[in-house]
């Protein structure tokens, strides 16, 4: 599904964010990307979204080489990858329904398609009854649900979540994790960058740990970290 081959990314200011990272994520997997701030998690995500280009190496998405694609193809790549951010990124002047339907409108979906898919996506995250609320009438957790709903409304094969629980309290975070798990169960590959140690440890999913631009650990049914010494280092 997603494959990084020897990816190195050096930013223009000389910072080496990733060095020779190779990673394969299979279809239907649920993967946590963990690591301290500045380790390279965001760079990894930006590379998949084609916000930035790798300095070396190749990236494959759905068996397609997306390392060097023209600007014209980037929108099409993004349509096959749903994205959820820590800061939700909803439009405050649009209702919940409009925030979600917006993602379909811009890719030229028909009205019938929109009126069928938007309620389905809202029900999926449990917000069917709040379709006509505005974002400022919703709680933080509900904000994130709308964002997730927007990300999955056109059934992308991959969902990328960049610290989706970063702005939420623990209980709400678990609700969001339930939603993501549901989506994953329906076949969507989920890639989640996070600092939420407890969530990672309880979920027992694949964990890829990045430190200083390198993958230091990649294990199935993993945990956030092993050694106590490391814990202190991060705190």
């Amino acid at each position: 599904m997603i494959r990084f081959v020897d990816i190195t990314k050096v930013y223009k200011n000389g910072v080496k964010a990733l060095s020779s990272v190779s990673l394969t994520i299979k279809k239907g997997e649920f993967v946590f990307i963990v690591g301290p701030s500045g380790a390279g998690k965001s760079t990894l995500i930006k590379l998949i979204l084609k916000e930035i280009e790798p300095t070396e190496g190749r990236i494959y998405l759905n068996n397609e080489d997306i390392t060097e694609v023209g600007n014209r193809k980037i929108p099409h790549i993004r349509r096959s990858v749903g994205t959820v951010f820590q800061d939700f990124r909803l439009l405050p002047n649009k209702t919940v329904y409009e925030n979600v339907s917006f993602a379909l409108e811009i890719i030229g979906a028909s009205r019938r398609e929109i009126s069928r898919k938007v309620p389905a996506a809202l029900n999926m995250v449990g917000l069917g009854s709040k379709a006509y609320c505005y974002p400022d009438q919703l709680s933080g957790g509900e904000h994130q649900r709308v964002a997730i709903s927007r990300a999955i409304v056109n059934n992308p094969p991959v969902l990328i979540a960049d610290e989706p629980t970063g702005n939420l309290d623990p209980d709400t975070s678990w609700d969001i994790m339930d939603v993501l798990l549901d989506i994953n169960k329906k076949g969507t590959t989920v890639l989640m960058a996070t600092h939420a140690k407890e969530i990672v440890n309880v979920m027992k999913k694949r964990v890829v740990a990045i430190e200083a631009g390198r993958i230091v650990r990649d294990e199935q049914r993993g945990v956030y970290e092993h050694e106590v010494a490391n814990t202190e280092e991060y705190i």
Partner: protein, 276 residues
């Protein structure tokens, strides 16, 4: 800011209109002048001998460029003058003797050849003076060239300014909607889809500007044309482009340019925001 955009486009187009009218009128004048003033008048001395007269006539006739030659006596010249002066002609009655010289009126095939003919006749004995209009027409053509060049420079500068003003105006809208644009990019909107509404905005500014300037230039020029027609010689308006023949061309040119400037301005304003 919308007002500034529309005003700047209107101003550019009005100046474009003025330059166009000037160039067209001068072109008209040149064409008219060329056909009217393909004459060379060779004035003869009063005490010219018959021999000299024939030599001059032969020299002129020998030139291939000459299409016709007419001998005009001083009496004929006076008659023509009386006709031209009309009611003031009585002033000429008091003349004791006719002061006008005899002359040859020479027509050349093309005004460009007049220099050649003049050169040959100039030195001959019995020739008092030669009057022809090539100098004036050359100067006119040069003048038209300057106006065309100067007009284009001014229009180019003004166009750049108005593109800049429009791009700044739209930048404000773009900036207010930058979050929306960035979200659109993340859910896979193409650049064309995002640009669409902003380009429409720019084109609308351009269209409104074009409409205003079409009205101003057409009515303004109509008024000017009539005023000149009324108060000055009819002769002069012959050279001005008639307003009716201008309306269609100006409307097409102005609309196209206005929309072009608007679209370009909005494209420029979006450049930075699309690179997500």
């Amino acid at each position: 800011m919308g007002l500034a955009s529309v005003t700047s486009i209107t101003a550019v187009l009005i100046i474009l209109g003025l330059v166009l009218i000037m160039i067209l009128s001068i072109n008209n004048l040149v064409v008219e002048a060329k056909s009217k003033f393909d004459e060379i008048q060779v004035f003869l001395e009063d005490d010219i001998s018959t021999e000299q007269l024939y030599r001059i006539e032969d020299t002129i006739k020998e030139s291939q460029e000459v299409s016709s030659i007419v001998y005009q006596t001083k009496d004929q010249a006076l008659e023509i003058m009386k006709e031209e002066w009309k009611e003031d002609a009585y002033l000429l009655e008091g003349l004791e003797e006719n002061p006008l010289p005899n002359s040859f009126i020479v027509r050349v095939e093309d005004i460009e050849y007049s220099d050649l003919v003049v050169e040959r006749v100039e030195g001959l004995e019995g020739v008092e003076d030669i009057v022809y209009y090539k100098d004036i027409i050359d100067r006119l053509v040069l003048f038209a060239k300057y106006i065309r060049f100067g007009g284009m420079v001014v229009i180019a500068i003004l166009m750049i300014i108005s593109i800049f003003i429009i791009s700044n105006t739209i930048k404000i809208t773009v900036f207010a909607r930058r979050d929306e644009i960035s979200i659109m990019k993340y859910v896979g909107a193409t650049n064309g889809y995002i640009r669409g509404p902003f380009i429409i905005e720019g084109v609308l500014f351009g269209l409104v500007g074009a409409l205003l300037s079409i009205l101003i230039v057409n009515f303004g020029y109509q008024y000017l044309f009539e005023a000149v027609n009324d108060k000055l010689y009819v002769l002069f308006t012959v050279y001005l482009v008639p307003p009716t023949s201008l309306v269609k061309d100006i409307s097409i040119i102005f609309s196209a340019m206005g929309m072009g400037i608007g679209a370009l301005g909005s494209l420029l304003s979006l450049k930075r925001f699309l690179n997500v």
